[in-house]
């Protein structure tokens, strides 16, 4: 267990904690005042209801988690340390469930939300999938972000179908979306398990990781370059011709 806690340190710090905290506060406020906001049709309250905050909370946190995970996997350690990738995937899955899934579900159950628990799970999974893929593979992420945008922007009051959908009256649609999300999350995990330096995603993950972590990279040889071999050749040739050596006469 302590092994996993050591690894979790690589994720639960800095930018990720700040983003999580801010988004969680927004989600908390939105859940607390949802009833009041829903009655005020003239404001953004109707559009930016708790489902919007849930979607944003999951999506943006998943983006960060995806970048950190990709950055940790796009590292030589991932190929030479035992169980490195699996342990990182387990840790990030637990972080997502504990810090994203559980708070969302708790708020949905405690408040007066008209979003069914299955819909919370659906928002959590679809937005997680979109967030994880967004910066790892922007094209796939872009396609997967469509449900996220609908959850954020669509107004349940002007769209009875969406309201019914969020209330959990169309379980087949929810199940299909959950299944698709699970498949895309599994595909993301598989890409990371097989990620190597030959793949374009490796360099992409490094770039995002360096930007997010501000990590210092050191090239040993860049610090102490040896002189060009041609110069050494010239020097040794001249030295050989001029100076007496330890010759063994035959």
């Amino acid at each position: 267990m302590s092994d996993y806690l050591q690894i979790a340190r690589a994720y639960l710090r800095g930018t990720t904690v700040v983003v999580w905290y801010v988004l969680f506060l927004l989600l908390l406020v939105a859940s607390a005042f949802e009833g009041e906001l829903a009655h005020n049709q003239a404001t953004f309250g109707d559009v930016l209801s708790s489902k919007s905050y849930m979607a944003m909370f999951t999506y943006f946190n998943a983006c960060l988690l995806g970048v950190l995970l990709g950055d940790n996997i796009a590292h030589p350690w991932a190929s030479v340390m035992p169980h490195y990738r699996k342990k990182h995937l387990v840790v990030t899955s637990l972080i997502a469930l504990l810090f994203l899934g559980m708070p969302m579900l708790s708020l949905a159950l405690v408040g007066t939300s008209d979003i069914a628990p299955t819909s919370v799970a659906m928002i959590f999974l679809t937005c997680s999938a979109a967030g994880l893929w967004t910066l790892y593979h922007p094209i796939v992420g872009g396609v997967l972000a469509l449900p996220f945008l609908i959850f954020v922007m669509a107004s349940p009051s002007s769209s009875p179908a969406l309201a019914a959908f969020l209330a959990g009256t169309t379980p087949i649609s929810s199940t299909i979306l959950i299944a698709i999300s699970l498949i895309t999350i599994a595909a993301f995990a598989w890409r990371l398990l097989t990620l190597n330096e030959d793949k374009l995603e490796y360099a992409n993950a490094r770039i995002w990781g360096d930007l997010l972590c501000g990590r210092r990279q050191i090239t040993a040889s860049s610090q102490s370059r040896s002189p060009p071999v041609s110069l050494l050749h010239r020097l040794t040739d001249e030295r050989s011709m001029r100076t007496p050596m330890r010759w063994k006469e035959r």
Partner: protein
Amino acid sequence: MSETMLDLRGVSKSFGDKHVLNEVDLSLPAGSVMGLVGKNGSGKTTLLKCALGLQRPQFGDVRLLSKAAWELSAEGKARLGYVPQKIDLYPWMKIQQITSYTAAFYPRWNEELVKRLLREWELNAEDRVGLLSVGQMQKLAIILALGHEPDLLILDEPAASLDPVARRQFLETLLDMVGKRTVLFSTHITSDLERVADRVAVLKDGKIVYSGELDSLKDTVKQLHVQAAAPLPNGSFRVPGMLHAKVNSNEALVSVQDFTADLPDRIAQQWSASVAVRDLNLEDIFLELHHE
């Protein structure tokens, strides 16, 4: 028969049109310390990465600890230590935290060894990684690679940024491992290699031009000083196994590979000259093998 820790057969790797490794064959028996030398861009890092399964060669077979490098099991990885050329560690972690983090992945971790090396190499466990100098970072990376006492240690230019004292300490650490562990390291510092390695592999333009015992290399590559009574032909002067010759009137300085004891006599007879033989150190041999 001792285990072959690393075995590359016909390994070729290219990036686009650039051929970096060209049918490389390399074998590393257990207990040996092998130095890999080559010019910048000769493919040393790519070779080590292919050996470790970090990059996949287009052709050839790489066996690491008797298993396919690409599919090395967790047990195999636990026997492996690696120090990359580009070291990136979490800058916000303290040294003590990063050693704990690294230890989390290994079933066996020698905390005493790590503490001893940190002490000997003057690294403070409470210092933050991001504040370390290049040399300190390299020391830390080496310690992290040694903590689980790997059977096979692969280091990519490990001593390049170390100061002379740290380099000596590092070499002593390597010397302590001789016979107990297998080490493959790339380096430009041929004096280090001569001090600790019992085998050497020379990589030139993506090909291994020599792989074997260091002493054998020194026995086979020599420099000859040929002094003839008459002027020697500048363009057509040739001797068997010649790498490079510099002719100046009736004198010639010739470097040869595949040197045999009778070669000086044969040259003396052919050119009516006296021939003196000079032993070369590894740096000279490296330069002669890379003479264009």
